[in-house]
């Protein structure tokens, strides 16, 4: 089974088709776990990765070519030359028994690296297939293997190795096999965890329906995902194996007779007063190898798990509020600005990893007046969410407001520092997200998730805040609010979760509510209730609402005015009736044309006369 495992970054280099990211998807939407072609190239572009790979490669080649490179055999000793300094024939000098140090380093590397290789092979052969099996099939094997693994992990490695040497004899290869067994749980757990996750993916279901056998599914869909993490783990475990082996040899527990780096350290240590330099060479070899392995593991992780920092303008490098947007050079004339929310000439820019910039919102003008519900309509990628996020100051990593002005209650918020924006979000502006469930923390009760922010923002006592939270739950028409306060998010339905989030949004008496597809994740019956709730809140409190949606039915139900967005631009604005009944822009018309409300029901089924088999 371990034969299937690639030992290097095995993806054949392919020309990476650069994905054209959808504007709405934002950066970082790269599929996780995919080890694409070019991984090797990216590794070599990483300075640490390239350096450590080169060092390791040189070491391995030198050790493999020991018979050619070494001045003499490792065990040839001429006692007369003991402790001789470096000379032309023996570039690193001679050791305490008059043996050539370079030769011993080179040959010793064969034993040291070979031993690590054996340990790795054993660990992989045991850990990976059993992890695959346990993760894929679960059940009894999984539980039994889990117990076994926990048991092995509880054993202290050094003690077991010492004991095995006492029982099995002083053979370094046998010890390395034992070490492999001891290291196998790390692979088992890694692989099992990943496989159990992938097992639930829809594409694995699809492969089963496609008629693939389990073996094929594992080979095609599962190994790919396991590959990257296993490669990283190999580099780490190799370092540990080399270190442990050298430690054993240094303690004199190894095979003793043959040259290894650890044994050389041992000898050198005994003569440390007389020839301190003897420590240097095996120490250097060990240090270089282990250091290179650790650095390589880190670089591999960056490359295979796509964690590398973005380019010069990318993601985390540039904090999003650092660069102040240049306010519009030319005064924007687009009618009177609303006192509540007014957006003029807004552009949103994303820095891409390759240093280029991509503009996803191109000069949007938008107004929400007090007590008005404005729909922002468009398809995914149209920039509607980006516009809403700009107002809230929560653009995802790498995104920032390019130019333009956003005023909320008369105050300019474009380019506002994060702290001021947070205060704004806690006060004037509130937000209701699309996925209610993922916006509640499963570890806390509904009550605590409502009470804590209220205490923080309004500075109320715990008791006052709890009373206010209860009022809010009543406001959003949650029956039995006292009971609901004590429930955890998994104990309530999606519709209830959305009500709780709306309650949270209302906690600071906002003037403007920004709702991003608030009902898209909900069923129609629940959607109708949430829409009704939003309508009542708007009527009772004079709330201004910016409703981001793609559902024209929701628009017709709730909105006073509508802005239709396509490709980062607003193509049409008007009252809901204008937009729905007499759209002017072709894009709006195409949206309405796709609505199935008026489409005729399908005719009843009739026996087919003849069937063609072509598809």
């Amino acid at each position: 089974m371990s034969g299937n495992l690639p030992t290097g970054a095995a993806a054949p280099p392919r020309t990476a088709h650069e994905a054209e990211p959808e504007a709405g998807a934002g950066p970082g939407s790269v599929a996780p776990g995919s080890v694409r072609g070019g991984a090797v190239r990216r590794l070599l572009r990483n300075p640490l990765g390239a350096a450590s790979a080169v060092v390791l490669l040189l070491l391995v080649v030198a050790v493999l070519l020991a018979p050619l490179l070494a001045p003499q055999a490792p065990d040839v000793s001429s006692l007369g030359d003991a402790f001789a300094g470096p000379d032309a024939a023996h570039p690193l000098g001679m050791d305490s028994a008059g043996r050539d140090i370079l030769s011993r380093i080179l040959y010793g590397g064969r034993n040291t690296l070979g031993g690590a290789l054996i340990a790795l092979a054993v660990a992989l052969a045991l850990g990976v297939p059993s992890g695959l099996y346990a993760g894929y099939y679960g059940g009894r094997f999984d539980s039994v293997a889990g117990w076994g693994v926990n048991l092995v992990m509880a054993l202290p490695a050094m003690v077991v190795l010492l004991a095995s040497r006492a029982i099995l004899g002083p053979n370094v290869w046998v010890l390395m096999i034992v070490l492999g067994v001891l290291a196998s749980p790390s692979f088992f757990r890694l692989v099992r965890g990943i496989v159990a996750g992938v097992r639930k993916e829809l594409y694995v279901d699809a492969a089963r329906v496609s008629g693939l056998s389990d073996t094929r599914i594992v080979v095609r869909h599962i190994l790919v995902v396991v590959r990257g993490p296993v490669i990283i783990q190999v580099a780490l475990v190799a370092g540990v194996a080399i270190g442990l082996q050298a430690g054993l040899e240094f303690l004199g527990v190894g095979s003793g007779s043959s040259a290894t780096w650890g044994a050389m350290l041992n000898e050198a240590f005994q003569n440390i007063q007389r020839a301190p330099l003897l420590m240097l060479w095996p120490g250097l070899a060990l240090g270089l190898t282990n250091g290179a392995l650790v650095l390589l593991a880190g670089a591999l992780r960056d490359v295979l798990e796509e964690r590398g920092g973005g380019g010069p303008d990318g993601g985390r490098v540039a904090p999003r509020t650092k660069e102040k947007p240049s306010l519009p050079a030319a005064p924007v004339e687009a009618g009177a600005r609303s006192p509540l929310l007014s957006v003029r000439g807004l552009t949103v820019v994303y820095g891409k990893p390759d240093g280029t910039r991509k503009q996803v919102v191109h000069g949007v003008d938008l107004d929400v007046r007090p007590g008005e519900i404005v729909g922002l309509v468009g398809e995914s990628g149209s920039g509607k969410t980006q516009t809403a996020f700009s107002v809230l100051g929560i653009l995802p990593e790498g995104g920032r407001i390019g130019t333009g002005s956003i005023t909320v209650a008369g105050r300019e918020v474009a380019g506002l520092p994060e702290r001021a924006h947070r205060a704004l979000r806690g006060g004037t502006v509130a937000y209701v997200p699309q996925e209610p469930m993922s916006n509640l923390d499963p570890a806390f009760t509904i009550g605590s998730q409502l009470v804590e922010p209220i205490r923080q923002v309004l500075g109320l006592s715990r008791k006052e805040a709890a009373a206010r939270a209860l009022d809010l739950l009543r406001l959003v028409e949650i029956p039995a609010p006292e009971r609901t306060m004590r429930l955890y998010p998994h104990e309530i339905s999606g519709g209830m979760a959305q009500r709780v989030l709306i309650a949270g949004a209302m906690s600071c008496d906002p003037e403007l509510l920004i709702a991003d597809e608030p009902t898209t994740a909900l069923d129609v019956l629940v959607q109708a209730e949430i829409l009704g709730l939003l309508r009542r809140l708007q009527e009772d409190r004079g709330l201004g609402v910016l409703l981001v949606t793609h559902n024209l039915g929701v628009v017709a139900d709730l909105c006073d005015r509508v802005a239709v967005m396509s490709d980062g631009r607003i193509v049409e604005t008007g009252t809901a009736e204008q937009i729905v009944h007499s759209p002017e822009h072709p894009y709006t018309r195409s949206l309405l044309g796709a609505v199935l409300d008026d489409a005729p029901a399908r005719e009843p089924w009739q026996q087919r006369k003849a069937r063609s088999t072509t598809v």
Binding site: G211, E379, P479, A528, N551, G553, A556, R602, W605
Partner: protein
């Protein structure tokens, strides 16, 4: 309250349709409850339905109603507790792995989420080749078939060498449809195939599915929560609630004159893109359903179906 209408359904379909391709009888699916003493969670409580060759049966319901589970049980992805599933005259509810592999020739699926139903690290060509290689199709033949399939779902021929992430949601769903069609199946389970798509994309994908059905005579079990989609797509419609069918009938009668109050509520709840009409419906819905259905905090959120 469900029994009268359900009986009615049975009367309409006496002992099932005589020429059914798929026949499901009294299907029950349940999962062990959480915790040792917890009762089993009953997902399907005795569902019976028929699909004829070339027919679309629309299955409508809310999340948690069990609609997705019916499809998964037919595909062998959900454990059947009791009841029977007959496909082309053969009982398949307990089919073993080898039998399932053979069935994959006739029985296929298009899942809801085109983002997770395609392996992100395999090219479109690899994905489409999968069912073919499962049936032992040769490489050359497979390549030709993949080209044919891509053409059929109107994707460019070079799509085969590209990765799913290079495609939009609608295009990915076309890939998933092509994968389902690869073996020229007789029945495709369409599990909310357009729910994750934009309105305009949704329409083109639905049109494509209809067109394929007209051409090939494939039957669909079309699972969705959207009545307007089901009305557009289906010859017959079954409405499911809490693991039981509450109403079955041809698309026009179920969606125009629903008999069961639940179907009516579903219909009125879906907002239409017409301001005056929507106001009228909203008021009608408020009049007929005074208590919100999500009013009970104890109703746990459950995954779709």
């Amino acid at each position: 309250m469900t029994s009268t209408v359900a009986d009615d359904t049975a009367a309409e379909v006496p002992d099932g349709l005589p020429d059914a391709l798929l026949r499901v009888r009294d299907l029950r699916v349940s999962y062990p409850g959480r915790g040792r003493r917890a009762p089993r969670a009953e997902i399907l409580k005795g569902v019976s339905l028929d699909i004829r060759p070339g027919e679309t049966l629309g299955l409508v319901g809310e999340s948690g109603s069990g609609k997705t589970t019916i499809g998964r049980a037919v595909l062998g992805l959900a454990p059947v507790q009791s009841g029977s599933i007959t496909f082309a005259g053969e009982r398949i509810e307990r089919a073993g792995a080898a039998r399932r592999r053979a069935l994959s020739r006739d029985l296929q699926v298009v899942f809801q989420d085109p983002y997770t139903s395609l392996n992100p690290s395999r090219t479109v060509g690899d994905t489409l080749g999968e069912p073919l290689s499962g049936q032992g199709t040769g490489a050359k033949e497979a390549r030709a078939r993949i080209a044919e399939l891509l053409d059929r779902v109107r994707l460019p021929a070079d799509a085969a060498d590209r990765l799913p992430r290079e495609f939009s949601g609608g295009q990915r769903q076309r890939v998933a449809i092509a994968r389902a069609l690869a073996l020229r199946p007789r029945l495709v389970i369409c599990d909310e195939p357009v729910s994750a798509l934009d309105l305009t994309t949704q329409r083109t994908v639905l049109d494509l599915l209809l067109e394929i059905q007209e051409e090939s005579g494939v039957a669909y079990l079309f699972v969705t929560h959207d009545l307007s989609v089901v009305r557009f797509m289906s010859h017959r419609v079954a409405v499911i609630r809490g693991g039981e069918l509450v109403e079955t009938g041809d698309a026009r009668s179920v969606t125009s004159e629903p008999r069961h109050p639940y179907t009516r509520a579903l219909m009125l709840a879906a907002p239409v893109a017409d301001v005056a009409e929507q106001r009228r419906r909203r008021e009608a819905a408020q009049a007929s359903a005074p208590t919100p259905s999500s009013a009970s905090p104890s109703a746990p959120a459950s995954p779709s179906g």
